[in-house]
Symmetry: C2
Subunit: 330 residues, 2 copies
Amino acid sequence: MKKFQVIGIGNAMVDVLARVDDAFLVENGVEKGIMTLIDTARAAELYSHMGPAREVSGGSAANTIAGLAALGARTAYIGKVKDDQLGAIFAHDMRAQGAGYDTPLAPKTHAAETGRCMVMVSPDSERSMNTYLGVSEFLAPDDIDAAQMAEAEWLYLEGYRFDGPDSQAAFAKAIDACKGAGGKVSVTLSDPFCVNRHREAFRTLIHDHIDLLFCNEHELKALYETDDLDAAIVRARKDVPMLACTVGAKGAHATSGGQDYHDPATNAAVVDVTGAGDLFAAGFLYGVVSGRDPLTCLRMGNHAAGEVISHIGARPEADLKALFGAHGLL
Amino acid sequence: MKKFQVIGIGNAMVDVLARVDDAFLVENGVEKGIMTLIDTARAAELYSHMGPAREVSGGSAANTIAGLAALGARTAYIGKVKDDQLGAIFAHDMRAQGAGYDTPLAPKTHAAETGRCMVMVSPDSERSMNTYLGVSEFLAPDDIDAAQMAEAEWLYLEGYRFDGPDSQAAFAKAIDACKGAGGKVSVTLSDPFCVNRHREAFRTLIHDHIDLLFCNEHELKALYETDDLDAAIVRARKDVPMLACTVGAKGAHATSGGQDYHDPATNAAVVDVTGAGDLFAAGFLYGVVSGRDPLTCLRMGNHAAGEVISHIGARPEADLKALFGAHGLL
């Protein structure tokens, strides 16, 4: 038995969550529903216009690993924060969840701070994210311990981190070590704009190394440059042994072993969609590492996503294990 | 018309909120339901044992002023944070609420950090608070602008800050300036243990200067060293022109002009009682500065408290004005 069932690698950051109306998004030039990278000056300007907020640890792959740890999976997480107050909060929340977090801190003297994501939640529960990456950008091969990667059954790579060449090299190092020891690798496409920025790198990675591809319909269409989801799924089926693709309120599709699967979304009341994709991945991966069939994996993904969209913030608040038990999934 | 309807002075801090079970409180030696002051070492130890948390700006009088500002009152707030990340969060949240916050920051070189309060919420919705005061302890007369105090219809003083001699001197300076210009002064007793620590100072202050006393039943009994709430209220009636005393799930009492008033609590579902007293004071004071009768003040207090106990965190999340309007209070 390997020490870790899943090791995640991604942008470590703290979410700053506030409710806004759509007029605020327009006035402040924030594009609704997507993630936009911003610099320090823009972050300060936008924050000064935002209403009172709350801070909750976030980061896409970190949310997924937190969900897996909450379900009892053996996990670790690699992502860079600084030795500052927000970095301490991020590290605390990962460790307190039992998620396994030991990435070396960027020193106090580093010019950048711990990354943060301003999450603006609209009345329709949609979220618009403006991200100041801070030191999370500086994740590099030195932060990857090859021996640890060899101890992983699965890697879970966050597509957002493709934005940094050093981080792409870190991914390559992790993949080599993990696969060299018989492990498998999954990736999430993270965001359609991120896919557009790095389409060829994603396609090469996926074709050459990926055992399980996570995405939503917009990201998959962007990857294969088509408006036809079915056609994109057919393409993906040739590229990867397993695919898990969310389709918003309609739930999620999976393909595995040449078979197609679908499970509708839960009917949870939606408060804030932040983290829906991250927790879907947590639930689905929990099913995979527990040896469950693809339809059960989908159901686990949809129930974990249903929990996280029922409240503000992208980390689970309810007992996910109890929730899965109540739905006959354990 | 004075520039400010209410200026609050108190411990500026960020709350670190986590759910715990009662066994956690026992194992970690945390006294349930009260506020305990802790040092940096104890704060670090306790935090390392706490589960994943979220951060929301807090501070008792700051919560009250935030509530008043949310209701549209003209407010200012005085309380000390440091030039660090949590200080920036506190200042942002006060300013974003329109609460009026300009207290000079403690410099980056200060040995202490911005204060924080670890709020442990039990399954029964009770909260236990462990507070590391940080730089909020250093509130001193220099932080009080006498000209600003003269522009206040009401001061609202946080009893917790009686723990610092410099802050008591700051209170005296503020009271002199406010009363010298015809303003009135209210104080909240904050906590029965705080009352026990400073009983004589509180009694002298209340007898000599206070126009409106806020407290809960336990604090009032501690002030007058009696187990009989009715007897304590009779004593208070002689000491202050107006009293507002909360009695938990039974709502609140007021005395004014020799008359007694009572209003039952709202039947809000209780999630977290953190901030109940603070928001009761916000609602009650909003009634006072709007020239409403004592029973309406009580109702406003109970509805504001009812909102804040319906969710995690001590700052209002719903639109308090709309809430008051829906209950025919505006």
